[in-house]
């Protein structure tokens, strides 16, 4: 009886779905996808993504990619849905079945399999793709990186030249000195904080790992166990303390915009392009946007974060959102989505065009990283097995939300520095206390 039932069921499936791919039931892994095959594949896909800037009528970058893809795969229809409030909405939408591909939002790694299909084993894909481990769990990869960036600091070359800065700053002291020179010798705002946008402040968190310590284990393995991670580390100035101290000092010395409460993210791009801003601390994904915001793209430069460890600078490299495929999608959709992702990764030049590091191993490096010559580009290694969610839990428990939307705490640095109502050491002491409390609450071993 059971056999008969399953036979009928299987027959229905085979008859119901004309596609051969669905018939054999098993999806190929990502590395087995060969572009140029299966060109008659037909499916309607919804691609949910955060890059609203690439989805504008006057500049339909994403649609252009689809059109290019459709030259080979004319029957795969892809609709991009972009969202300014992606970080939040994606967390709600991830459970639905109204999307096929999305940039994987901040969910716990052990939940990846609940929402996304595995693309292949980490062992195989790691050899072929950079950042394959970014969204992997239990030996399976659930997301392929969209673009990848090395984090540093945006600066305007013309402004630096005018201020007489010939050598890029390598330490916090040199950096503050450079900002001062900009203030004295030019009309530009030395450091534009982008305080009002919020997430631009949380972006500072990205530098407390590799850039501030030089260790690829710091962020995902050590931080949760560190006692007082925000404690002062002098000679040389390193660690999270040194990172946030730069911001505090810049505010205190009056090296930022006049009214930080009304900064305008869209408005800052042309200002950066036109040399009205000296420096902005943002990931390299912002580089292209600054270039495109005016007629002086050649003036935009990118340098490593000004902290040196043992005379050497390190830059954290990591992936932006990884693309994952909905586990609830139909088999045709899943397969079609795989082809599109493969094409996006290998043939679209998407990452390169966005100024990103190559995703497929052996790809080309863009000009953006010219100033990174001699700087070690390293990626954060994964959390230890069994501790994949520890940092998330520590973030929630301490409410510091490091690298996870904790914008208000960095905004607080600016407020306190400006109003002069709290010393920097006191702020760091508070954060340390919150961290220690969270470690105690979660029974985390403190090293």
């Amino acid at each position: 009886m059971k056999k008969l039932l399953s036979l009928i069921l299987a027959l229905c499936l085979v008859l119901g779905m004309a596609s051969f791919a669905a018939a054999d039931g098993e999806l190929p892994t990502f590395d087995k996808i060969v572009l140029g095959e299966n060109t008659d594949l037909a499916a309607d896909l919804v691609f949910y993504y955060h890059r609203t800037d690439l989805d504008k009528d006057e500049n339909p970058v994403l649609k252009n990619y689809v059109a290019k893809f459709n030259e080979t795969y004319p029957n795969i229809k892809i609709e991009y849905q972009t969202d300014t409030d992606y970080h939040e909405n994606a967390l709600l939408r991830v459970k639905a079945n109204d999307w096929t591909i999305m940039g994987i939002p901040a969910i716990n790694k052990d939940e990846l399999a609940t929402y996304y299909i595995p693309l292949g084993s980490l062992e195989t894909l790691n050899g072929l793709y950079n950042f394959a481990s970014a969204q992997a769990f239990g030996g399976n990869v659930y997301g392929i990186a969209s673009t990848a960036t090395a984090s540093g600091v945006l600066y305007n070359k013309a402004v630096f030249e005018k201020a007489g800065i010939t050598e890029l700053p390598k330490t916090p002291d040199e950096f503050i000195a450079a900002l001062k020179a900009i203030k004295e010798k030019t009309d530009a705002i030395p450091l534009y904080t982008n305080y009002a946008a919020g997430w631009t402040m949380g972006a500072w968190d990205a530098y407390i790992g590799i850039a501030a310590t030089g260790r690829d284990t710091y962020m995902n393995q050590e931080l949760a166990h560190t006692k007082d991670p925000f404690a002062k580390q002098e000679d040389p100035a390193t660690g999270a303390y040194a990172v946030y101290k730069i911001l505090y000092d810049a505010v205190k010395e009056g090296l930022i915009e006049e009214d930080y409460s009304t900064t305008d993210w869209e408005g800052c791009k042309p200002m950066m392009n036109q040399g009205q801003i000296g420096v902005m601390v943002l990931g390299s994904w912002a580089f292209t946007q600054m270039q495109q915001a005016g007629d002086k793209p050649e003036d935009i430069g990118y340098m490593a974060f000004p902290i040196s460890i043992g005379g050497k600078q390190y830059a954290p490299a990591g992936s932006d959102f990884c693309f994952g495929i909905n586990v609830q999608a139909t088999d045709e959709q899943k397969l079609a989505a795989m082809y599109y992702l493969k094409w996006l990764t290998h043939e679209s030049n998407f990452s390169y065009n966005e100024g990103g590091l190559p995703i497929a191993k052996g790809g080309a490096y863009p000009d953006l990283y010219a100033a990174f010559d001699g700087i070690d580009l390293i990626s954060d290694v994964d959390a230890l097995p069994g501790e994949e969610t520890l940092l998330n839990e520590m973030n929630a428990e301490s409410e510091l939300n490091i690298n996870n939307g904790g914008n208000t705490k960095v905004q607080g640095i600016i407020e306190h520095a400006f109003n002069g109502d709290k010393e920097f050491d006191d702020i760091m002491a508070e954060w340390n206390a919150a961290w220690s409390e969270a470690q105690a609450a979660l029974n985390v071993e403190v090293k």
């Binding site: 939040e88 967390l91 969910i107 716990n108 939940e111 305080y195 009002a196 946008a197 919020g198 006049e258 009214d259 930080y260 409460s261 009304t262 973030n395 929630a396 409410e399 939300n401 996870n404 939307g405 904790g406 914008n407 208000t408 905004q411 407020e415 400006f418 109003n419």
Partner: protein, 320 residues
């Protein structure tokens, strides 16, 4: 219909009652079900969540009143609650203004009063987020407000940074809220005033009462219910202020984070759903307490004026 027409006349009465029952039940079932599903079940769930230490996806179990305790012991949250005082002060100003305009527009024959009502009511129709963006530009250094103030002779140097300086930024946000809701309150008041018997004014005028006396003795008692409603809505609205601080105040940055914003942050950034639920419960309790408190307060205060009102009304009627 078809059933009704085919039944026997002697049975009709009983049948129709049954049908009536059925129709009533059927009509009530759908909205009641939806109400249960989307309001009371989630609410019950929220109460349950508030006693748990949990994120969206992980429940680490029952923690008793720990979440509630934290709401009252963390200075951050208490400070956020105190921010409501700004908005309450704003609410009082807003009601006074609305009442003033409503009285003037009702008592005096003013040319173009319809247009004026329209202008006053318009802000309420504009989407809160749009208002936020309008006011962001309004308050930006050297933009709208500063330009206007400079035009009337105040030098820019003596003006504060409306959103940066923590001594004024909450007032700036309160102003946007007053701007938005004042017109709405006014229209409600005008509606209430219009329902007062106009002969009372005539009688009062004959008695020699001036405008202020008419306002105090006729309008104020006459619109008591609407006034109470507006007051309760404004005060509870102040407790749960969100839009101005979120949009104009950059998501509650720079000391403008109201309690509601703290809840939002707890639920969506930190993702401590249990803690956020407990905070929401506390907010609800606060609103209930304030509403009940106001009712009790006004029961005593208004009793007096109601007596005056009745006495005056009787007197006026007696005169006629």
């Amino acid at each position: 219909m078809s059933i009704v027409s085919t039944v026997q006349p002697d049975l009709r009465r009983k049948r129709i009652n049954w049908q009536k029952m059925l129709v009533i039940v059927l009509f009530a079932v759908v909205p009641l079900f939806l109400l249960m599903l989307f309001t009371y079940v989630p609410f019950a769930k929220m109460i349950q969540f508030s006693f748990h230490n949990m994120s969206y996806t992980k429940d680490k179990g029952y923690v008793g009143f720990a979440n509630y305790l934290k709401v009252f012991t963390k200075q951050e949250y208490v400070g956020a609650m105190l921010l409501s005082l700004y908005y309450m002060a704003g609410a009082v100003v807003q009601l006074a203004l609305a009442l003033f305009f409503a009285s003037v527009l009702s008592l005096e024959k003013i040319r173009g009063s319809g247009l004026f009502k329209g202008i006053m009511f318009f802000p309420f129709l504009v989407n809160g987020i749009a208002i936020g963006y309008i006011f962001k530009f309004f308050f930006t250094r050297g933009f709208v407000l500063d330009t206007v103030l400079q035009a009337i002779g105040i030098p820019l140097e003596s003006l504060p940074y409306w959103l940066r300086d923590q001594s004024v930024n909450n007032w700036s946000l309160v102003f946007t809220s007053v701007w938005k809701y004042c017109g709405q309150n006014m229209v409600l008041f005008i509606g209430a005033i219009a329902s007062i018997d106009p002969t009372l004014y005539e009688a009062a005028t004959i008695d020699g009462a001036n405008r202020w006396q008419q306002f105090r003795a006729i309008i104020l008692p006459g619109i008591k219910t609407v006034f109470m409603l507006n007051l309760i809505l404004s005060i509870t609205g102040s407790l749960s202020a969100f839009e101005p601080a979120y949009v104009v105040g950059n998501m509650g940055a720079n000391g403008t984070a109201t309690f509601f914003i703290k809840i939002h942050e707890m639920a969506h950034v930190t993702q401590k759903v249990g803690q956020a639920s407990a905070m929401a419960m506390v907010l609800m309790a606060l609103i209930l307490i304030f509403t009940a408190g106001q009712r009790l307060f006004f029961r005593f205060v208004m009793k007096d004026s109601e007596n005056t009102f009745n006495a005056k009304a009787n007197k006026a009627k007696a005169l006629w």
